[in-house]
Symmetry: C2
Subunit: 247 residues, 2 copies
Amino acid sequence: MITYSQGCYLGVLGGMGPMAGAAFALRLAALTPADVDQQHIPTLLRNDPRIPDRSSAYMAGGENPLPYMVEGVRFLEQAGAQLIAIPCNTAHLWFDQIAASTRLPVLHIIQAVIEDLRRLGLPKGRIGLMGTAATLKLGLYQRHLEAQGYECIVPDDDEVERYCMGSIRAVKGNQLEDAFAPAAECIARLKARGADAVVLGCTELPLAVPHALRPSLGVTLTDSIDALARAAIAHYLEEQAQEQVAA
Amino acid sequence: MITYSQGCYLGVLGGMGPMAGAAFALRLAALTPADVDQQHIPTLLRNDPRIPDRSSAYMAGGENPLPYMVEGVRFLEQAGAQLIAIPCNTAHLWFDQIAASTRLPVLHIIQAVIEDLRRLGLPKGRIGLMGTAATLKLGLYQRHLEAQGYECIVPDDDEVERYCMGSIRAVKGNQLEDAFAPAAECIARLKARGADAVVLGCTELPLAVPHALRPSLGVTLTDSIDALARAAIAHYLEEQAQEQVAA
């Protein structure tokens, strides 16, 4: 249980996309141990969808989103945030630059997913990856997972375009009913290749694959929105425990 | 379709409760006509659950939430909001004082619900009400609905406590699985008494009654979260139309 006496916002750099930012805030509330409103984590969600597309910047020479993201984090810092969460996997291609632009701690979504794999009983194993073409092409997950003893199974370029990006674009275009089938096909293919778990490594993908349908897919899934929410909650619980020791 | 070129946040005074604030941001994104991230409404959600309980203040002499709400609206104004939405029905007992504290327009959730009833083909009729004991006791919905030609059907005190507050407390305590049955019982009773539609007039209630289960309840429902999101979207679309006429 978490209680607060003063300004200590979780600052959320959202809008990438806006539904993922909102879903993060919702899952944060759902996963927080709380009996009444006042025990939830005070959150400031800046859900600004005008940040230039992260994938286009890396893959097609589009406008650089970094200055917009740095401006957003500084806005949250000035508004009273004490911790930053960024519910967008592709944005983590710029993680080091974003983290260097603020004095606040910034949660790392990939590390949160790895902690979630451990929570799910997978301290090692073969992990199937789903995400944007940019996230997968630039090895964002592969680098962190392999450094921590995992093996990665990555869809080929055609599968990424058809199943991952197809599903992600449907969520971003508010066509949720078209988002499930391509995501489920990708999960089935990764499972058939021996994945012990599949990472929903783009924050649109948890919206494409509703919680209620996940047990039917027959493989462990880790959800980058939920993993980031769990990491934020753990940070607040730990801080509170330290305050109690100090008091 | 909505496009933006400069700072024009929808400011959301959330946290009452935090799941309702987040659900509002999610439904706002889901109901906005948009093909890509950049066409969504830039939103700043201050999901601060430390605002004292609205019902306790009115019903049991608890701490007054008004100074906290005024402070929240001023925060959003300073942060660049151009319009305020408050996804909490009971908070609207203080609507006039909140609106008087800011130069920004503030959407009224009850008026948004009445516009939603008209959208649903009910320009008049008998409306069953659900909400907190404070909202119902103080006639928040009754006053507005009756002034606009509707007739109200209100649960008795025991039903409000058992079915409305029972469901609302389950949502606030993160026990969503316990929230549906009491809400559904109340909806059935209001329908049996002749309601043409039932208002989910507390922002926890739409979370208790998932969209997927609503058709099975056999009566028109209006959802105060969705109604408020539609009102915000309409405001932005109208403003954009005016800008295009002016250009």
